[in-house]
Subunit: 455 residues, 2 copies
């Protein structure tokens, strides 16, 4: 049963980027349709509930200082935000030794000085990297052949500083998946905020979260769009002529003037295109692999770690879960710890049965937070690498050589097909804010406008 | 118009691997169907003809000493082979200086000694690498984090030797696409024959070619299979239960007991699977990108280079075409030079118009072979990166970290779906011989047999 429809602009994907693009276009009278493969909206935002009704974000959730579009969208949609629980000291596990501290390095230590100085140097190198075209950076060929690890090894004469910086820069997106090119690291330093803890001049505002969860943004945008959002419609083919584009899904054919594809390059590359994608774009899709991670939550009766002056945050160089945070709701009860199992560890543990995985996660939390952590009321996990609609948390261009060879195809429209999604964002690439910025740009493109949202 | 059919084993792809698997299965009475997206068979073998009727291979063509399956298959199919034109001296262009020599390095030079000694060392390191499971190599974690280039830089104290070895090992599959991990290089050293010129004890037999072109192997196998080969049927979806597998194409649904997918991991990853592929397999597909290359031919009235004692072979560190060979037919007339435009150069030149590209290619040939090369009778090119059915010449696992993290998913069947294609071959990976070996293994798997064809 194939339904035929037509519209001005067809949007593929009802995540933050697709819905925001549709919302912007609908607001100016453009006739828009959004095709979504899943039977829900939200993409990589996904909010669930524990049995007591407490919301939990299995997907994207944190809003950093300076992410203004998403804060503004939340206000428009009447979704409240609250500061993420972060007071207290951090647990560090390094070389088998546990310690606690204000941050990852003792203040006034030599390691701290070295870290801050190397962070300033990296930030300075990144300061004139063109965010919308890293491949045009003056030193791009050399930086894209070099790796971040080698740069750190050669220039940071302190093993702790080296590790803290590589964790800060890579931990958020690419740890141990593949070597990160120095150019990618500089892009990330300027596009996101990994060095903020080391280069900020004053106190840094905490991350914020959405009361009730991040998926609400998509739910509410979708409600506003009504029957313009078509669920359960997996796009399999995009065919275009000079005059029009056809989006062919498992149950529809949508005839449109323009299309905006908001899927990550990897997933977008799995659609059949006629005519075929230009070779540089296709090869970009082949190389922009997704980051594999499992997001886990453990629920406790209360935030027992806070009573001990701990923030719930961990940075560890061992174990299955190496990064944790306090993910409790605004009320502070129950106490919720969130952890990430990334890449190599996800690979190791993904074939274990859920009980084994739970045991391994809990054992790590006990190492970090003591015996109180041993018996969570609830254990919950979301495997983003397994999710057939996203196959990972975020995608990237991190390996050496990718930005310089294929970067130019990242946002360049292919005829009537435009590209959005957080992986195409110049600023806050990989973040929810980046998804909105990319939508803003693509919505402007299809209207024949040019927008500079890199500043 | 969807046709429904059923069979014992459905094979996806009518290249060398798919047709050979079908041939082996049909020979023992297995009911087999081959689904091919294109309207021709042959996959990455593709034979055409110049206007005078001379055959030309736009795809795979060379058979190396020791590639016994393909030689035997050719005998069975009554396709003759002939030694590839290779007598004469090689043209070398290095740092802007042209020279000619018996091989890439002057014999009895220090560079030659250094090259031979490093080649022996690499061959020795590779000698106990398990070809069917490089990730289990004793030193795999370290070797897969290291790169070939760094190993060469640190251990080969002669710039010419270093360059010759990296060209020999990487030139054939991955030059400048991404850094090659040392583990990948060792796999390739043992799976293929890149170091043969440096470690062989006696004279090496020449490469051979097929009289009339390599695609004949597929054409003749397909003829033998008759209506079991279904052309123009693009597989879009593979659905399986415990009891059966369904192959859904653009015009058919084939119900089978087992499926053999012979596409490269990248292209195979673009099919929709239900249930979805296991995460390790999916992520392997995300990371096994194809090598981008343009194969070009220039035709001349005669083999003018032979009159000057040249073989037609070039190794150059500059220009658009950096590797050439004499690709003349058995009769020796007309004279045909073949060249490869690889990766970075393919990227640079692919957006130029055909006349500009021809001019750039011819200019390189003039640099290598003199003014006689300036005016080819015919210029011909095949862009494998653009080909929507293959998107490159061959695919690989060359970047650091891929073999160790994802290699185990390369051949492991997923339920009733088995994997073949040269990218899954333990021996002669990426070659036509590897395609046949992989077919032999997969055909055995679906019959419940186990075959060791790594020795």
């Amino acid at each position: 049963m194939t339904t035929r429809q037509s519209c001005d602009v067809a949007v593929v994907g009802a995540g933050l980027s697709g819905l925001y693009a549709a919302r912007l276009l609908a607001a100016v009278g453009v006739d828009v349709l959004v095709l979504e493969a899943q039977t829900r909206v939200g993409g990589r935002t996904l909010t669930g509930h524990f049995s007591d009704g407490t919301f939990v974000d299995d997907g994207g959730q944190w809003v950093s200082p300076g992410q203004d579009r998403i804060a503004s969208l939340a206000r428009d949609l009447q979704i409240e935000m609250f500061p993420s629980w972060s007071d207290g000291r951090m647990v560090l596990l390094r070389d088998g030794i546990r310690s606690v501290g204000e941050g990852p390095i003792p203040p006034n230590s030599e390691a701290n000085e070295t870290t801050m100085s190397a962070a300033r140097r990296l930030a300075n190198m990144a300061s004139d990297l063109p965010l919308d075209a890293p491949w045009t950076y003056a030193d791009a060929p050399r930086c894209d052949a070099a790796t971040l690890h080698r740069w750190l090894a050669e220039r940071v004469d302190n093993p702790l500083a080296e590790r803290v910086l590589s964790n800060a820069i890579e931990g958020v997106f690419a740890r141990n998946a593949a070597p990160t090119s120095l150019l990618s690291a500089l892009f990330w330093v300027r596009s996101g905020d990994p060095l903020v803890p080391f280069v900020a001049e004053g106190p840094v505002a905490p991350e914020r979260r959405f009361v009730g969860g991040a998926q609400q943004l998509c739910d509410k945008m979708s409600t506003g769009l009504g029957d313009r959002v078509l669920l359960g419609s997996t796009v399999t083919e995009i065919t275009q002529t000079e005059a029009a584009v056809e989006i062919i899904s498992t149950n529809r054919v949508v005839h449109a003037d323009r299309a905006i594809v908001t899927l990550s390059p990897t997933i977008a590359g799995r659609i059949r295109y006629s005519p075929g994608l230009p070779v540089q774009r296709d090869h970009l899709c082949q190389r922009a692999s997704m980051r594999w991670a499992i997001k886990v939550h453990c629920v406790y009766a209360n935030r027992f770690w806070a009573a001990e002056g701990l923030s719930g945050a961990t940075m560890s160089d061992d174990g299955i879960v190496r990064i944790t945070a306090d993910n409790s709701p605004p009320s502070g009860a129950p106490g919720v710890l969130v952890g990430f199992i990334e890449e190599t560890e996800a690979l190791q543990i993904s074939s274990a049965n859920p009980d084994e995985r739970r045991a391994a996660v809990v054992a790590d939390l006990v190492k970090y937070f003591g015996a109180h952590a041993a018996d969570p009321l609830t254990y919950r996990e979301k495997h983003w690498g397994d999710d057939p609609f996203s196959r990972g948390i975020d995608g990237g261009y991190w390996s050496p050589g990718i930005w310089t060879a294929y970067g130019a195809a990242l946002r360049r429209p292919v005829g009537r097909v435009h590209w959005a999604g957080t992986e195409t964002a110049a600023v806050w690439n990989g973040k929810m804010e980046g998804a909105l910025l990319s939508a803003e740009r693509a919505a402007a493109e299809v209207q024949g406008l040019v927008v500079d949202n890199t500043t």
